[in-house]
Every structure is written in structure tokens, then in C-alpha cells.
């Protein structure tokens, strides 16, 4: 019966799976998505020092949240892997804190809306994710290391400085340069 993608290897296929889940509560699509992402979310939790059982539990929780929030997944806003990353990140933080992570509310009437022209000028989000991937390859080793430590070691700037035995300012400037480089590469011209 199915035109459901067999894997979620590509962002396009994962996007199709997401819309099947959102539109039809499609369990088969969810199983395919789960097979791809749950083991990666678990790996992410483990990398950040979470014990095995909790890592498994948080990965389950993340995918459950993907099911429940599927209708909020807005393909114009993020690629599926980016969206799932943000859910996993927040669940991990919330598991260790009494107050949930401060996040903006996109429906808040007090939110200052995006400028009109930005809506169509913006690169398609899947293209953008691809461009970010390409741009990451152009970072030098030091910049890439600083970015990796930020995402996978849960280290503050000063903790990274300590780990690498560098002045704090050097760490900040590596991160700043890495980020600037990525944003340049995808043609963002902010600020």
C-alpha cells in the first residue's frame, strides 16, 4: 500500500515521514523514523555523559514527543534532524533541572515578528541544513573542535578553555569565527 519511505536517511524522506505522522498518525512512518533517530538520540545522550538506562529512556521520550508534537513540526522552519535535536536537547536539560529550559514561544503576541521580506528570501530550510553541513567542512581543526565540545560535551566557554588549556578569549573567538564562517557560507547577512 505504501509510498512511505523505507528509511529516514535523507532529510527529504524524514520530512515525508514527519508529515505522514502529523497528518495521519501513521504508525508505520513513525516506526521508520524511530529506527533512524532513536539510536542517534541515545548516542547523543551517552556522549553527554548520561547513564545508559537514562539515555535509552530520554531517547524514547524524545521520539514520543516527536509523535505528539508532529503537528507543530513546520517544515518551513527546520529540517527534521534539527527539530529532533532541539527536542532531545531540551528533554536532557529538563531531566536535570527543576525549571524547564527557557524557550521563546512562537505564538506569543509579544514576540517581535520577522520582517516581511525575510519570509520569501529565506533559503529553504533543507537547503540551509545542507549548506551548514558543507560550511562545517571548511572550519579549521581548532574551530571544529570548539564547536564539537560545545554540542557534545556540554561545556561552557570557560570549561572549554580549561579543557584545552587556552585563554577564555581564545575559545570565544574560535566559536565566534566558526559561527561567522558558517553564516557567511550560507549567505546569511545578519546584523
Amino acid at each position: 500500500m505504501t509510498d512511505i519511505p523505507k528509511t529516514a536517511e535523507t532529510a527529504e524522506d524524514a520530512t515525508v515521514l514527519m508529515s505522514r505522522i502529523a497528518g495521519h498518525q501513521d504508525r508505520q512512518a513513525f516506526e521508520v523514523l524511530f529506527a533512524h533517530f532513536a539510536p542517534r538520540v541515545k548516542a547523543y545522550m551517552l556522549k553527554l555523559g548520561t547513564a545508559d538506562a537514562l539515555a535509552d529512556e530520554l531517547a524514547q521520550e524524545t521520539l514520543l514527543m516527536v509523535w505528539r508534537k508532529a503537528e507543530q513540526f513546520d517544515r518551513a522552519k527546520a529540517s527534521p534532524s534539527t527539530w529532533i535535536f532541539t527536542i532531545a536537547r531540551n528533554l536532557r536539560i529538563d531531566a536535570f533541572r527543576k525549571i524547564s529550559r527557557p524557550e521563546l514561544d512562537p505564538n506569543d503576541p509579544a514576540l517581535v515578528p520577522d520582517p516581511e521580506e525575510a519570509q520569501d528570501d529565506r533559503m529553504n530550510r533543507l537547503q540551509r541544513a545542507r549548506a551548514v553541513r558543507e560550511a562545517m567542512k571548511t572550519l579549521n581543526d581548532e574551530q571544529a573542535e570548539a564547536v564539537r565540545l560545545s554540542f557534545f560535551e556540554d561545556l561552557s566557554h570557560s570549561a572549554i578553555a580549561e579543557r584545552l588549556d587556552l585563554p577564555l578569549g581564545t575559545v570565544k573567538s574560535r566559536l565566534r569565527l566558526a559561527f561567522a564562517r558558517i553564516r557567511d557560507a550560507i549567505g546569511e547577512d545578519l546584523k
Binding site: 531540551n90 529550559r101 551548514v132 562545517m136 561567522a180
Partner: protein
């Protein structure tokens, strides 16, 4: 008015990575609500996270993980934390909110609901509850023409304007603008004449005041 003074890029990156303490995350999130440009930057930073997640070597899930999750998709989310949809239902008309989310949720209301405490001439504060002690977040209400006593920091300081404005030397800060100061900076923000200024200030490490009144204030009120 477009925001002129932003959260530093490396702090945005760390927010996306999930490395910031609670109070610093709060000031970033509130700035994001007021600054479309930084929201764009955060989307890009989050793409880095998505890409890194994608590239991780998968680790096998426990045998019954999928079955567990599928079983839970059947049940309504009863008793579980609801997905944070909009928390903005309120009798107040939209335009009248001074505090954007997630600040309103944190204090349980808007500007009118803040229980201010006077800490010096023309200066009131409200200390916000935070999930960890790494940094402190507080609201400051400074009367027009008044300044926070000159101070340096042992850590970073972010000051986000929510209403009114202030100036520090030659720089002017209005709603949405953030002044960032590192431990080397000694500064003295002064609230604009007229209505003064309401801001969200986040500091890591205690402030260091340089005049005698500041020192006493520090001892007595523990800011």
C-alpha cells in the same frame, strides 16, 4: 525600532548547543523574542546540532523501546507534562505585554505583577527564581537619570532592556537591546530621563561595587 545591541554570537551558539545555565538561557530566550535577526542565527546554530546528531554512530535501543513508545502514543498525555503550546492566553490585549515569553511564565505575570524591592535611591529589583545557581537573574527598575552604582564583575553580565532605556558612556540601549560586559569592564549604566528603565540583568559571579554605598548595598542585600 530594530534591536541594535545583540547577544554575542558565541553565546547564541552555546544556547543552541544547550550549554548555558538557566539564567543566561533566560536572557537569551527573551532577547530572541524581541530580535528576529538573532532568531535566524539560532536556527542556523540549531542546524549544526541537527547535523551532528545525524552523523553520530547509532547506539542500539533496548529491545522493547519501540513497543513502549508505541504503547504510550495510544494513551492521552494524561498526567504528563503538556507540550508547551502558547502560554499567552490572557485578558490583556497583545500589544500591552511588556514582558515576552518565557519571562511572563517565569514570574507568573507581566510588569504590573512584579513585587519590587527597593535596593537604593531610585533602584528597585526583583530576583527571579532560577533552576541552578550558576548565574543570577533579576529584574531592575531604575528611575530616570538614576544609575546602578559603578561596578565591575567577577563574571559576565547581560543587561536586556524591557522598557524605557539606558545609556552607558556613548552607547544607548532601548527595548530588546542587550549590554554585555565581561569581567574587565567597569561601567555605570544610567537610566534615560523620564520613565527610566526596566531591565533583565543576568550576572555570573557577584558584582563588585567600587563606592562605599555600593559596598554596603552589596553586603546588605546580597546582590
Amino acid at each position: 525600532m530594530t534591536v541594535q545591541h545583540h547577544i554575542p554570537d558565541e553565546t547564541l551558539l552555546s544556547y543552541a548547543a544547550g550549554d548555558l545555565d538557566d539564567a543566561t538561557s533566560l536572557v537569551v530566550a527573551v532577547h530572541l523574542a524581541l530580535c528576529p535577526a538573532c532568531r535566524e542565527a539560532i536556527d542556523v546554530a540549531s542546524d549544526i546540532g541537527g547535523m551532528m546528531l545525524e552523523d553520530l554512530a547509532p547506539v542500539a535501543m533496548s529491545g522493547d523501546a519501540l513497543a513502549h513508545v508505541l504503547a504510550r502514543t495510544e494513551t492521552a498525555a494524561a498526567g504528563e507534562r503538556p507540550v508547551p503550546m502558547t502560554t499567552s492566553q490572557s485578558s490583556s490585549p497583545a500589544a500591552s505585554f511588556v514582558f515576552p515569553e518565557p519571562l511572563r511564565s517565569r514570574i507568573g505575570g507581566d510588569l504590573d505583577n512584579v513585587k519590587w524591592r527597593r535596593i537604593g535611591p531610585g533602584v528597585q529589583q526583583f530576583v527571579l527564581p532560577c533552576a541552578d545557581g550558576a548565574s543570577q537573574a533579576r529584574l531592575l527598575k531604575i528611575a530616570g537619570g538614576q544609575g546602578v552604582p559603578e561596578h565591575g564583575h567577577t563574571g559576565e553580565e547581560f543587561t536586556l532592556v524591557l522598557a524605557g532605556g539606558f545609556s552607558d558612556g556613548s552607547l544607548a540601549f532601548a527595548r530588546g537591546d542587550v549590554e554585555w560586559a565581561d569581567p574587565d569592564v567597569v561601567h555605570r549604566p544610567v537610566a534615560d530621563d523620564g520613565d527610566g528603565c526596566v531591565c533583565l540583568a543576568v550576572t555570573s559571579g557577584p558584582l563588585q561595587f567600587f563606592d562605599i554605598i555600593g559596598k554596603i548595598a552589596q553586603r546588605v542585600i546580597g546582590i
